[in-house]
């Protein structure tokens, strides 16, 4: 089992999609939202994912495939 902290950013056309709900349904991943700001045109959610590492990886690949931007949490690692 493992945990991963990530940030999802939703563009306007995806804001109304239940992506996090479906992530929990389609994959053996527990989603735990810690901070979010969702508006009409864009939104972001910071959350922790709990599950087998391979399942988290598969889940995140699926989230990315929906068009949601997935970023690891912890600052801008690529920096200069």
């Amino acid at each position: 089992m493992g945990k991963q902290r990530v940030k999802f950013t939703f563009e306007e056309e995806l804001v109304k999609q239940p992506v996090i709900y479906e992530l929990g349904r389609k994959f053996e991943v527990v989603t735990n939202i810690r901070r979010a700001d969702v508006g009409e045109e864009v939104g972001w959610v910071v959350l922790e994912l709990d599950g087998e590492e391979t399942e988290i990886k598969r889940g995140l690949e699926w989230v990315s495939s929906t068009g949601v931007r997935v970023d690891p949490l912890g600052g801008d690692v690529i920096d200069g």
Partner: protein, 425 residues
């Protein structure tokens, strides 16, 4: 000694001890250093600073690491130059250049890495790591060489050769990742959880970022303890931009500026704004990666991440961690943000070189072109005191300006020379 009270979440305000942490366990917000300013105010003065070494460590009382034996390759105390040539070209009579391209590893990154490396050794780390597209890799490798500890530097495999050599010369463990910048990013985030290493801009980030405050301190000191009317700053994550502002306000609150009375830092050290700090903060981003400028200019409540597509690779952070805080600084200071067209970046590099004799990297081209825009639009008046920050050296991004190499080719004879030279006149 370091005058630290600990760390504090910038979002929810939860407090943590001064440990290698960067994210709040509760809300995952960023952690910031909290200082004991009451004690600092008793020990720091213009004289104590002036008596210090000619590096960022002259401000050791204002940094979050012990300053008695820092990892110091003499970062900082770089020249502040009156820019007569560039100023004349742009119609600015009171323009100065903060030339940070002459740091030991040729970028401002030496300031932040010196603080992060010093803190990492305090914490007992034996390996210091980072992922980078250039400047940071060079600086981490150089500081580790100085400190005698292992550096592990992750770079994308398609990085320009000059940057790879610039880091490799210090003999770090150089890891070339067969993937995109985003993939290197993700890999390092995962490694930071599993390896007992000090990643300078992950678990060391609260301390690392504070090093940029010295860009504010130095300009104030070099202007004889006063602040400029305007500063023009390149920006990627937004961290340096916010820390320059923080540095200005710390100096004001501590009574270090001439004619300015000290005052309380209030309830939030990171958002304090002393009324004597009237400097307008102008952020410059490259159009191909300008999420903060876009948010400011479109009056967005959020910074929307982008996929970078810019020749200014050292500014190419698509998801800037401090973007929203940088916007607040622009707002408080009455400043601005501008997305410099990609086609203007090389023009900016050449303009600085031809008028001031300073060869800057692509990020500097962004900054100079942004300055030109501010001057032409009237946002900066001719006699206002303005400082433009040049943060990296042109030798690192020579590919961007290869087209300037156009020599007069002649035979080894006077007649050949005169024939072509007359033509060149």
């Amino acid at each position: 000694m370091a005058f630290l009270n600990g760390l504090k979440c910038r979002e929810c305000g939860r407090e943590y001890p001064a440990e290698p942490l960067n994210v709040c366990d509760f809300c995952f917000g960023p952690l910031e250093v909290v200082y004991d300013y009451a004690t600092i105010s008793e020990v720091v003065s213009q004289d104590s600073i002036a008596a210090g070494p000619l590096s960022i460590w002259r401000y050791k009382d204002l940094l979050p690491a012990e300053g008695d034996d820092p990892v110091d390759i003499m970062a900082g105390y770089t020249p502040l130059i009156k820019a007569r040539g560039l100023g004349k070209t742009l119609g600015l009579n009171n323009l100065y250049i903060k030339n940070d391209s002459v740091n030991p590893s040729f970028s401002f990154k030496d300031r932040v890495v010196s603080v992060a490396a010093t803190k990492a050794l305090e914490f007992g780390y034996e390996t210091i790591a980072c992922a980078s597209t250039g400047n940071l890799a060079c600086s981490v490798a150089a500081h580790c060489a100085r400190a005698g500890v292992r550096a592990v530097v992750f770079i994308p495999s398609n990085l320009e050769k000059g940057k790879i050599i610039g880091a490799a010369i210090y003999n770090p463990v150089l890891v070339s990742v067969d993937g995109t910048y985003d993939q290197v990013n993700r890999l390092c985030s995962e490694l930071a959880d599993d390896y007992p290493w000090a990643f300078v801009n992950i678990n060391m980030r609260p301390y690392y970022a504070e090093g940029s405050k010295t860009l504010g301190y130095e300009v104030a000191e070099q202007l004889d303890w006063r602040l400029p009317d305007h500063v023009v700053v390149p920006s990627a994550s937004g961290a340096m931009f916010t820390k320059i502002w923080k540095g200005f306000n710390e100096m004001a609150c501590l009574g270090l500026l001439d004619g300015v009375a000290s005052s309380s830092f209030g309830v939030d050290q990171n958002t304090v704004h002393h009324p004597a700090v009237t400097t307008k903060m102008h952020m410059q981003q490259a159009e191909g990666c300008s999420p903060i400028a876009a948010a400011w200019n479109n009056n967005q409540a959020q910074v929307i991440p982008v996929r970078p597509d810019s020749i200014a690779k050292s500014l190419a952070i698509g998801n800037p961690a401090d973007g929203i805080y940088a916007i607040k600084v622009i707002e408080r200071s009455g400043g601005s943000a501008y997305a410099v067209p990609e086609s203007d970046i090389v023009d900016g590099i050449k303009l600085l070189a031809e008028t001031e004799g300073i060869f800057t990297e692509t990020a500097g081209g962004v900054t100079v072109s942004g300055l030109k825009h501010l001057a032409e639009s009237g946002a900066i008046k001719p006699d206002e005191l303005t400082v433009v920050y040049i943060t990296g050296n042109g030798l690192k991004t020579q590919e961007a300006v290869e087209q300037v190499v156009n020599p007069l080719s002649i035979k080894p004879s006077i007649s050949s020379f005169e024939a072509i030279f007359e033509g060149a006149k």
